[in-house]
Amino acid sequence: MFVTVSSKRLRREFVKKVKELSGQNLQLCYQCGMCTGNCPAAANMDVSPRRIIELARLGLEEDIANSKTVWICASCLACTVNCPRGFDLSRVMEAIRLLTLRKNIDHVRPEDIPPQERCELPQIAMVSGLRKFTG
């Protein structure tokens, strides 16, 4: 994949917002891939957790928006506890989700969850799922 990196992109509002919301220094990451190696959902992701960091710091907002990765992340924090740089990727995933959710674009519509599922799912599933997938 070829990408054009420009100083204009690096100054994008998106990069600034991800840093602000996550509280993470995106430059800490040295792309070792421990996050991807430890992620139990990486096989289902179209963009690996490691690459999400790289795309975010290069301001490649569109590539991130077109990927399903942040919606597959279950915030299990396997990446966080295994990162040799002390970088908390779970907070970056959350920041990227929120940038979409705060535009009133929900990932899950509660009314689309079948009534039987709504009855069966434990409350902590419903509350946490709607917290992560709706604005």
Binding site: L21, A41, S75, C76, V81, D88, P122, I124, K132
Partner: protein
């Protein structure tokens, strides 16, 4: 001895089989789990965004309720609630700016700065009672029960709130040993069950469960024991699907740690609500002669 106790929403409905054996067992050991008055939902997940302080209000309110009771410790049972309450407490303790904002927002409440320690019941068993003292109270040792301790995520991650070693946790292993069971360590014991992904991608849950069960089975486990109602739901649902679509996938009964505690203390199956478990754990327990009820236990606490 009375302990301030936060149950959380799921324990009052879907996971009564986690709560009721815990309350009965602790009573038998001489500890009253004293439910916090006016508790509210903790929010289930900890907010990970720097500017999202409104979602810290719910867990902090519960901690304030405990402070008002004059308690310096709040006992939890649900692994999700434990995680959310302990992380919110850490934030209130360590981040002065956010603490001030949250305290000012809740101006009807007393100021809070992380005075109440959020603990999990397993920590009470390990640190306040001790494995040796617990093992002496066991009336019905769970001999021959080869149980795989499954931790999931929220008791151990992030590192700053972990109840045990993040890499090599021992607390459930030691708990099982105290009850006379044979713990079966397996490498996937801290692998995520899929968590809230069950809401958006229910069809993916079986594939989260597969490596966890495969790993436990291949290490010789006959049963899985866990602490979290969402792990219980996802692993139970995932296992059922795996059995349906894959002949030869053997059913492994799943228990809450509190159910095994109640059985070992001789409290009998009535308090365990096995009807809320996945599959048919009672026939398994019957085979193992673990369903008897014995005379009362001599309490430990004053």
């Amino acid at each position: 001895m009375s302990l301030a106790y936060y149950p959380g929403c799921t324990l009052k409905t879907k996971a009564r089989n986690l709560e009721e054996p815990a309350v009965a067992s602790m009573e038998a050991l001489g500890f009253k789990l004293d439910e916090l008055p006016r508790w509210n939902c903790c929010g289930a997940v900890y907010s990970l965004a720097e500017d999202d302080l409104i979602h810290q209000v719910a867990p902090v309110r519960n901690l304030i309720r405990a402070k008002e009771q004059g308690k310096d410790e709040l006992v939890t049972l649900c692994a999700f609630c434990f995680n959310t309450l302990k992380r919110a407490n850490l934030l209130m303790k360590e981040d002065a700016e956010k603490r001030n904002t949250i305290n000012s927002f809740m101006n009807e409440e007393v100021d809070y700065s992380g005075e109440v320690k959020a603990v999990h019941l397993l920590e009470v068993l390990r640190d306040d009672i001790g494995w040796e003292a617990l093992s002496q109270k066991v009336k019905l040792p769970l001999r021959e029960l080869k149980a795989a301790p499954y931790y999931g995520c929220t008791l151990l991650r992030p590192r700053e709130i972990a109840i045990d070693s993040v890499e090599d946790p021992a607390i459930l292993r030691e708990f099982l040993k105290a009850l006379g069971a044979s713990p079966v360590d397996f490498p996937e014991s801290t692998r995520c069950c899929g968590s809230y992904q069950v809401v958006s991608s229910p069809d993916a849950i079986a594939e989260y469960a597969r490596p966890i069960f495969n790993s436990a089975l291949s290490h010789g486990a006959e049963a899985m024991i866990l602490t979290c109602p969402l792990c219980d739901y996802n692993l139970g649902r995932g296992q059922k699907e795996l059995i349906e679509k894959q002949s030869g996938f053997r059913e492994m009964p799943i228990f809450y740690f509190t159910q095994l505690l109640a059985l070992a203390l001789g409290l009998g199956p009535q308090v365990c609500h096995f009807e809320l478990n996945h599959g048919s754990p009672e026939s398994f327990l019957k085979e193992k002669n673990l369903l008897s009820q014995v005379e009362s236990v001599q309490p430990i606490g004053g």
